[in-house]
Amino acid sequence: MKKAFLILLAIIVAIAGGTLLIRQRLRADEETQRETRIAVILNGSRDDRSYSQSFYDAMQSYADITGTDVVFRDGISPELFEETVRPLLEEGYWIIIGDHYGYEPYLASLTEAWPESYYLIATGTEASVNHSSFLGRVYQARFLSGIVAGKRTVTGEIGYIIAMPTPETIRQVNAFTIGVRKVNPEAKVHVRFSGDWNDDEKAREATKALLDTHEIDVLSLHVNSLAPLYEGDARGIYLIGNNYDNRELFPKTYLTACVFHWEDFLAERISECERHKFTGRHYWESIKTGTVSLAPLTGNVYFATGDEVEHWRRQILEGEFDVFYGPVTDNYGTVRVREGENLPDDELLYNMHWYVDGVVVE
């Protein structure tokens, strides 16, 4: 009798116990606030006084101010991206900042394996659930730098060294030229391609060739290498830098530069990550946010340039003017943008293969 009773009890216990096992897996448990750990992957080097350094400076100062754990990896070409980042992810770094669009294709496998990680890729164009890409509207700074150049040039010949023709580089030299033409309708911008972003020798060669060919008295560039600047400086030519303010290097000839101030932008993005408010999208920061800007003018600029620059800056800030507001004519004479029109971003980003009037491609 007692046995039967115990068996009955055991059955009840078993049934009850079984029901307890029916548990749905809870997804997304309470997320404890985790320590922010950032890895910055640089294509160039942290002291290249150029593009990559702009990221290094920004993030280092962020780390210094906030005390966040930030690590840097230099000279990471796109192929090396994955193998560089994986161990970092394993170590517990969960915000990855990369400075090259070439990294974007390698993100997919990483985001799958580490769904809680976020990626901010500069110069990229894609976006996904935990990946945002961002650019600054450098062209706006370029435009302003063009005004400086246009005011400075006496010969009306301005040199411009570009790594290779991409919508980005073309866009920027177009913006530059539009700026030049605004204050110097007859000036010309001579463009030469070095063929490589970082190669100093190639850059120097191109610069030499350009300077030897024309009576250029103002030089700007769109390469990471500083060689063109050295070359121009040696010849006493005025310089407008890019990515980084190098006026200390060229005290006599440096005019200004298009520079980046990533701190605020990145800080905001990082904050969004921390607050679980990350939205994967493409950012194109305008000059309004200060992410891109023209470095302060040196004493080498033509006097009253500052007022001019200021005037145009104000126009942009207030939305009354943007660089590619019409009318814009290409260097074949075709009207690309009519009065009262604007080029849409898509065009700017992907379809700019034409040069504005005033650009002379060598």
């Binding site: 009850a16 116990g17 659930v129 029109e341 849409p344």
Partner: protein
């Protein structure tokens, strides 16, 4: 009994504990189950909530899409109309049904409608760059902006602005039939569209900690899913929070709904589950109790069975005993009746014969028959006494009656009796008595005698060849655990060793139990009630003594009895053996007897036979005996006839002995107002003597009346001058009681053999003794023979001076302890020699001495 009860309680406790434990387990499971069911239902509800949110979000998304779509339509209109401003304006106006549409040129100047800054509405900037967008300006409203393309380029920005107050009218969403609150928020959690019909407490709710955390959780969940829902506890009860992305925008649809709304109807499921479980649990508990009950019942019945068995066994033992007793009692009764018959026949025959020789022979035969009757009667009496004793002990009414006695006397009587019995079985009987044992003791002589007799009888009974040895000594303690003997106390150790059939080890424990006779196979033929040892043990317990047995089966046993007794005098038993052996060899006994031919007594008894017996018993004393068969008759007689003594039976119809006594005493001018009346009664319970004395009787005799006792009583109460003392020197074959002797003497007198003339003693000794303050009778009673009296008296007087000196010494020294002891001893010894007065005085001194000593 208590032990069993404790055991039962323990069991009950354990069972109860088990049931309680099971209940606890079930309750725990029940609670867990309930929690689990609730959890699952919650999860289900959350899924449902998600879907709801998705649906609502979709609705809103469509609305947004619609807005943008409408604007695109307007924008496309602008694309076509070039330069024809008025047409364009009209087209726009047509579309602008609510006056909220505006068109801006590139550069920000208005083409139609209001101007708004890109700072306030980033969507304008976005549209300028070619992307339609929605932006919200806090406090102002929600703006939808689209680019208007002309070719590849953007020519205008078309917007529609919904002012703050119009927002929830246009976009407000209700969920759950109006019970839920829905909002549209941006990624920064700014509310764009508030809830339809917000109530005052709503914003407070949104600020609650748990709600904020809940929405954070939802935000997280929205990264990987388009919708999310979660239950949260709030101050207003349990709420389900939900959120969903609004496609095509950066906005989320968020909201909450009370859990009760969501769970409507679903809670019955959990209720049902709990109910089923509760039913199951109840069944289990019920089953448990049934089981408990069942166990208890079986246990009860087992116990009852056990008890029944025990009772059965006891009953069987008692029945066997009764059957036994029946047989035992019937046997002597049969003997009595049979023998009596024989006597009647013989005497009838004898009357008819002529020859002297035949007559002699006849008388001899009759005599032997009478002896048989006597023996049977005694046997029967002994059995009945045993039973009576046993009943008294069982009822707790057995009491000891301590009095002064002589140990030697007891030993003497016992030894004589056993010697006789042993002789008749051809067994050797040895006696060894410690000479230094004190002789004058205080105790219940009868019981001491009874114990000794019992043991010795057993020894003789169960020994068929060999010897029985009696050893009497003293030991320091009555039994191991008792304290050592007190001063003035001796611990007798009586040991009986036989070479009989022995006792088995396993039987030893049973021996002392009532009704049980051990080793019935071998002892079947031996007579006895089986109560002997049980009674002995009880008596010993009462006296503070102990009994031990050692035995080797088949070889013999030794019974050792220890009894503490109080010492009263300094005499020792002395050389008992010599005396005893002398007695044995001589087989003479000094027996005092008397004749009182001048005395006349009245015997009152309603039973004729008893009268006859009494007359017979006293025939040798030549006392004149009158008889009466009723109280009334006796009163008649006492009026006229003066009696020296009246023997009055107590139990008589119509008038009891006591009544008769009172009436007798009340008789005026009766002859017997002061005659001593002796009560004859079978009532021997405690306090009887005192009661009878209180009622007025002078003394009492127990029935059946023993010859010796009767003679003693008469000697005591008859007037001394009428008593003629005698002693009989040649009673053959051990000690017999006076009855037996009387008969023999009677037989001899009527027979041919002439008895030698007995010296007659007149009452001179008595008178002479009385003159010196000695009660001769008392002395005779205590000391037995005249010789002893003489010897003791001499001894007493010799030591009197010395003793008196001692007493005076102690008195002077005020040593009350010793003084009292000496005086006490004096009391005893004085009484023994019949110096009653002296004894009484000594008693008084003893009393005061006790007080002085502080006792």
């Amino acid at each position: 009994m208590t032990e069993k009860r404790v055991r039962v309680d323990n069991r009950m406790l354990r069972m109860f504990g088990t049931v309680t434990l099971m209940v606890l387990i079930l309750v725990t499971i029940g609670i867990t189950l309930y929690a689990q069911v609730n959890y699952l239902l919650n999860v289900y509800m959350e899924e449902q909530g998600k879907k709801q949110a998705e649906t609502l979000a979709e609705v809103t998304g469509r609305q947004f899409e619609g807005e943008l779509g409408a604007l695109y339509v307007v924008a496309s209109e602008l694309a076509h109309i070039e330069g024809m401003r008025t047409e364009a304006l009209r087209a726009i106006q047509d579309a602008d049904t609510d006056g909220r549409i505006g068109v801006l040129r590139i550069g920000g100047s208005p083409f139609y409608g209001e101007v708004y800054s890109m700072d306030d509405y980033p969507c304008l900037e976005s549209a300028t760059h070619g992307e339609s967008a929605i932006s919200y300006c806090v406090g102002q409203g929600l703006m939808f902006a689209v680019p208007a393309f002309r070719g590849n380029n953007i020519a205008y920005v078309v917007y529609r602005l919904y002012p703050e107050e119009a927002l929830f009218e246009r976009f407000g969403v209700t969920g759950y039939g109006g019970e839920g609150r829905v909002r549209i928020t941006d990624t920064q959690d700014r509310v764009i569209v508030g809830s339809v019909a917000p109530d005052s407490s709503e914003h407070l709710l949104y600020e609650e900690e748990s709600v904020i955390r809940g929405f954070e959780q939802l935000n997280q969940m929205l990264y990987t899913a388009g919708s999310a829902a979660v239950f949260t506890q709030t101050s207003e009860g349990d709420m389900m929070l939900y959120a969903a992305e609004i496609a095509g925008s950066d906005y989320h649809l968020t909201g909450y709904v009370p859990k009760t709304v969501v769970m409507e109807g679903v809670q019955y499921i959990s209720m049902l589950v709990i109910l089923v479980f509760a039913v199951l649990a109840a069944m289990v508990i019920f089953g448990g109790f049934l089981l408990m009950n069942l166990e208890r019942r079986t246990r009860e019945s087992k116990r009852l069975k056990e008890e029944a068995e025990v009772a059965e066994h006891a009953n069987a033992a008692k029945s066997e005993f009764l059957a036994n007793m029946s047989h035992e009692i019937r046997t002597p009764i049969n003997a009595v009746l049979g023998m009596n018959e024989m006597i009647l026949r013989e005497s009838a025959q004898a009357r008819e014969t002529d020859g002297k020789e035949e007559q002699d022979q006849a008388f001899h035969r009759i005599t032997s028959y009478a002896y048989n009757v006597d023996s049977a009667g005694k046997n029967l009496l002994s059995i009945v006494n045993d039973i009576l004793d046993f009943s008294k002990i069982e009822a707790g009414k057995m009491e000891l009656a301590p009095a002064a006695y002589k140990l030697s006397s007891v030993l003497n009587d016992v030894s004589n009796m056993i010697a006789f019995r042993a002789r008749s079985k051809d067994l050797r009987f040895e006696v060894e008595v410690d000479e230094t044992l004190p002789d004058a003791l205080v105790g219940d002589e009868v019981r001491v005698r009874q114990v000794m007799t019992n043991i010795l009888n057993n020894a003789v009974k169960y020994t068929h060849e060999g010897s029985v040895k009696l050893e009497v000594g003293s030991t320091g303690t009555p039994h191991p655990s008792a304290p050592a003997e007190q001063p003035g106390e001796v611990c007798l150790e009586i040991s009986v060793k036989d070479t009989g059939i022995g006792i088995r080890e396993e039987d030893m424990a049973k021996m002392f139990s009532k009704f049980e006779r051990v080793d019935t196979n071998r002892t079947k033929t031996i007579e006895g009630t089986g109560l002997g040892l049980a009674i002995t043990k009880s008596l010993l317990d009462m006296m503070g003594g102990e009994i031990r047995v050692e035995s080797v089966y088949g070889e013999g046993s030794t019974f050792t009895v220890t009894i503490p007794q109080i010492i009263m005098g300094t005499e020792t038993v002395g050389n008992f053996r010599d005396r005893f052996e002398q007695t044995l060899s001589e087989l003479k006994t000094y027996q005092e007897s008397f004749r009182a031919p001048d005395a006349r007594i009245l015997v009152v008894d309603d039973t004729e036979i008893n009268l006859t017996v009494l007359k017979g018993l006293l025939s040798a004393t030549q006392i004149k005996i009158n008889t009466a068969t009723s109280g009334a008759q006796s009163l008649e007689m006492t009026k006229d006839i003066p009696f020296d003594l009246i023997l009055m039976d107590q139990r008589m119809p119509h008038m009891s002995g006591t009544e008769a006594l009172h009436l007798l005493r009340a008789q005026q001018d009766g002859q017997n107002a002061h005659t001593p009346v002796i009560c004859l009664t079978a009532d021997v319970v405690q306090g009887a003597r005192e009661r009878y004395l209180a009622e007025g009787f002078t003394d009492y005799l127990t029935k059946p009346v023993e010859g010796a006792a009767l003679e003693a009583m008469l000697m005591k109460h008859l007037p001394a001058e009428k008593l003629v003392r005698e002693y009989d020197a040649d009673a053959p074959g051990g000690r017999m009681d006076s009855g037996e002797r009387r008969i023999r003497r009677g037989a001899e007198t009527t027979g041919s053999a002439a008895c030698p003339a007995k010296p007659e003693r007149d009452g001179t000794i008595v008178r002479r003794s009385a003159q010196i303050g000695i009660d001769y009778a008392a002395a005779k009673r205590y000391l037995g023979t005249d010789e002893m009296i003489e010897k003791t008296l001499r001894q007493f007087t010799e030591s009197a001076a010395e003793k008196a000196g001692e007493i005076e010494d102690f008195l002077e020294k005020e040593d009350w302890e010793n003084y009292t002891i000496r005086v006490h001893a004096l009391k005893g010894s004085a009484r023994m020699i019949g110096a009653a007065a002296l004894s009484a005085q000594a008693a008084q001194l003893e009393e005061t001495g006790n007080l002085a000593a502080g006792r």
